[in-house]
Symmetry: C3
Subunit: 447 residues, 3 copies
Amino acid sequence: MTGQNSSSSVSTKSISQILAGWDPEGEGAALHDLVTRLYPICRSITGNGTRRSLQMLREWVPLTVREVPTGTTVFDWTVPKEWNIRDAHIKNSRGERVVDFQKCSLHVVNYSVPVRARMRRSELKEHVFTLPDRPDWIPYRTSYYKETWGFCLTQREWDALPDDEYEVCIDSSLEAGYLSYGEFRCQGATDDEMLISAHSCHPSLCNDNLSGMAVAARLAGHLAGASLRYSYRFLWLPGTIGSITWLALNEAILPRIKHGLVLSCVGDPGRFTYKRSRRGHAEIDRAVEHVLQSAGGDFGVAEFSPFGYDERQYCSPGINLPVGCLMRTPNGKYPQYHTSADDLDFVTAPALAESVRRLLSVVEVLEQDYRYVNLNPKCEPQLGRRGLYRLMGGTSNTGLEKAMLWVLNFSDGEHSLLDIAERSQVAFSKLAETAEVLVRNNLLRRI
Amino acid sequence: MTGQNSSSSVSTKSISQILAGWDPEGEGAALHDLVTRLYPICRSITGNGTRRSLQMLREWVPLTVREVPTGTTVFDWTVPKEWNIRDAHIKNSRGERVVDFQKCSLHVVNYSVPVRARMRRSELKEHVFTLPDRPDWIPYRTSYYKETWGFCLTQREWDALPDDEYEVCIDSSLEAGYLSYGEFRCQGATDDEMLISAHSCHPSLCNDNLSGMAVAARLAGHLAGASLRYSYRFLWLPGTIGSITWLALNEAILPRIKHGLVLSCVGDPGRFTYKRSRRGHAEIDRAVEHVLQSAGGDFGVAEFSPFGYDERQYCSPGINLPVGCLMRTPNGKYPQYHTSADDLDFVTAPALAESVRRLLSVVEVLEQDYRYVNLNPKCEPQLGRRGLYRLMGGTSNTGLEKAMLWVLNFSDGEHSLLDIAERSQVAFSKLAETAEVLVRNNLLRRI
Amino acid sequence: MTGQNSSSSVSTKSISQILAGWDPEGEGAALHDLVTRLYPICRSITGNGTRRSLQMLREWVPLTVREVPTGTTVFDWTVPKEWNIRDAHIKNSRGERVVDFQKCSLHVVNYSVPVRARMRRSELKEHVFTLPDRPDWIPYRTSYYKETWGFCLTQREWDALPDDEYEVCIDSSLEAGYLSYGEFRCQGATDDEMLISAHSCHPSLCNDNLSGMAVAARLAGHLAGASLRYSYRFLWLPGTIGSITWLALNEAILPRIKHGLVLSCVGDPGRFTYKRSRRGHAEIDRAVEHVLQSAGGDFGVAEFSPFGYDERQYCSPGINLPVGCLMRTPNGKYPQYHTSADDLDFVTAPALAESVRRLLSVVEVLEQDYRYVNLNPKCEPQLGRRGLYRLMGGTSNTGLEKAMLWVLNFSDGEHSLLDIAERSQVAFSKLAETAEVLVRNNLLRRI
């Protein structure tokens, strides 16, 4: 009922403890190393490249790889054929490989049908994609829903090819098979779920989205060993068709999903950008924005729009889950986007680690965002005699006193801790800690 | 039931087609020419000047001139006597006309009672109005509700008059008669109406409000040949008493009025200013603001206030229709306001034409502002196999794809196209066109 | 039922009349004189200093001094022992008084237990408080809820004391007695009340809060002779424990309190700052903000927070009265705060007088904030024939005409005069005056 790989291990750490013991260097190094090893693999919306990548993530999280057969109807769509590629190249008349898929998986238009032919440069041109404005970068192109083939080259490579007869070879197959995706669920105290989704269909592109794949896996690894209120479901799936497939096959689960995030482009060193869910003011939206706000520094917030990543599907009108999208520099807003320059240098270890840390902070908010009632609601309780308030007067309130007074005043059954955090501008974690102190002193009760 | 001059001609053009074939030079020339011919006529709240002006508008629109007898009770008011004027002048002792109504209708205080007398300059002074700060301009003054007489002169003209005995003559009459106004209604597919109202009582003042009279007539001419959802009612009437009269005599019609605009000062080359209806967020308010926003460039929006033009009456608390006011430079915000400098040079052909065009765009929005439901609401439909989406991936969405995704995502039965336009910042006309494409592809249904 | 000292004297003046005859110099002089005479007294949360101060306020207002016995349970608190102090000093080995309570009441930590001892400077140091950053100022310290003793000195005084044996003496007593507070209520036409509260427990500190005590007393004196709609209740009480005590003993009265203000720091020449009630948009909040706005000049508005003065108690979640806090420079925002520099020079006569005047304006708004209905709601009434509107047209509306049109248009039973003031930006007093004119002309009826 809750996924075969549900983890019900006895948990030992709270999120706050994980954050307290945070090791940015270690986390960053591990993340960048995983991205480095994933980088050369040619992923696509189906095929062995994706399967191998998912296996690699199992180093950190015991995810299940699920296989959905070609031809399966998923809402308005059909699961496509499975694509696999072994090799591809262009050889000149001297038999030299002038373009070689082994060097970079972007050289082949993703999902190209097999081809083996000889042709003049002028004929080959019809199948070649370059970026004239960025002559040293290879573009990323796909053709999932039209059976064709092509090569992607840097403009300089293309310009350097003389008029000649070329041998083109794409040793691929497009056949009935499966769409593969990874799923991991860890069981919390309740069946209410948070969904984390990362698209895993892009070949050698680091920020979009090896960063999201790795960050999600790292977060999953941390949560698997934590004491949790919510259950957490992680999905690594091909963009668009993957989320559509998952949604179509799991409609019964949807009512349990209380919060969700799509992770994408979370490895570059730019500021964070949060794209709100279609609902716009859901708890996940407020939690992420509070975390970004509390951290200080610059960040961006964008309203929902029906473009981007799998939030398009999670937030389609008939699904309408409270799922936002956490990014650093958003898709299309950095020049390296969808080119070979989105490489291992573009994503950094500190940025990857900090993305995991922010997500843990978001989880910390959601886990602890309860409403409380003040058990002494008429006037302030006398905190001093309980040892909770400075006894010498005449100065300003301390931070802890302020947090106590905020929690006491607004714990009227209408305001959650996140409401109070937004109103008071006091960090959520401080309020949560304060609430625990007040509960222990019989001044507050959780509802 | 819906006015004697209802047009039910077989319509052939949509608003979009009218806009597609728009000829700004031809429209501007025709409008300025009509203003030029209306300019010399001495209009007032009653009388033959107004009747002649309304006849002139019939060149473009088969309006009906309605006559309401003096003494008719209209809410708290009474239809006043009819004023007519044949001539007026001031002659000096040598018999020379030093002030001549034939040269400018503003020279006489509008609604002056007849007078024929000889008096010294000092006595005449009591009946003379000038603008000391603008010594070359004649002021515009009225005295509708106090029986008196007067002359308006430039300060220089008055200063040049020596002490002398002057003969003053106002050959006017103030007698039982009628209040005249023009009305035109074109029948659309429904009896729900949009009201367009322009005050027509000002003498030789171009922006205020020959511009509004001419623009309304031009718009009416265009709509009379169009295929329409709403019925459109146009009123050309004297300010204040005219709208009060119409409202008092047509209370039964009011529930049908779904949208309305007062047109005033729409001929000067200043930016557009929209004054919202008393309701503040009515569909007409949102439609006008979207049109101004989409057009780019600067514009102003003002909240409703109970001063200005006939929106005062349409938006009185017991009437409270959703009627805003479209202007360019608002009344009182240009120095020429209510002076002889509000002349044929102050209003321009391009400004007049553009005012008509913006109004057609507003009508286009209102006509097409429906709600739709996405017939495939769970995840996106596969647009590619319907030929509606680029098949090669890896680049950004095109404008049309964006419009489709916006319309599909928010067509949940709660959002109209105008709601989607406001949210997406996509031009309404593009969304409307997109909705039609999606309806044809069975992806959307109008509700 | 409504307090023993309810005033039911026949009232003769309206608030508008009081404001019309306003004498800023006379008011300011009287206020500053009272503050000067209150200044030397050593007040605390209980004791004779407070009693003497309340008696002094009776020069202006016949308030009742209420006495609540030590040990009385008030919600979560207990009324503390009564503290009285006769003398205190530190003498050096030559018997010279190097610190003398008679010179400044701040020299003793407020609520110090009695002590009489000899000790070296090093031992004395444990009981001495200074402000190293402000070496010429004496800090203000209290110890209400921990039985201890101490002295407050300027840093220079302390530094000047050589190593020596000192005799310390605090001739105080801490015994069962009473908590004293002042209360005055003047009866208006209804039992609905406005509450004005000022904390009266601070010793020789002028802005915080002799200013609030004096301003409240002056306001009470003015209202006692006025014709009023609301009843007004004034409280002068020790901070925190005083308002808790009053609330605990007067719960039955709370439903009648429709508006309230805490007065604090209203004597310095800084701009006004209004701290909103917990409700945030209560009528008192809107009234104060309108008065500050209408007066022109700079002012500040702060959202409610659970720190500050007795609004903490009035706005606790189980009480939640619409009580805001009017200040000039807020507590903690001026360097003199809680030091000996908050003295007779820091508060000024004009500032004190203007604070009273603004409060009278707030009362004027609340007293006259009714809803009206336009008796001629369909179109404008013909104001001209009633002599209420200029008869010569062609110019702009006058201020009075504008006020009339605003009141008529929005008197639809849904908008109060304060609503109209906020929307129109017309001063409330002008709208109220206009409403009276319209009522007299049978155009408006109060509801």
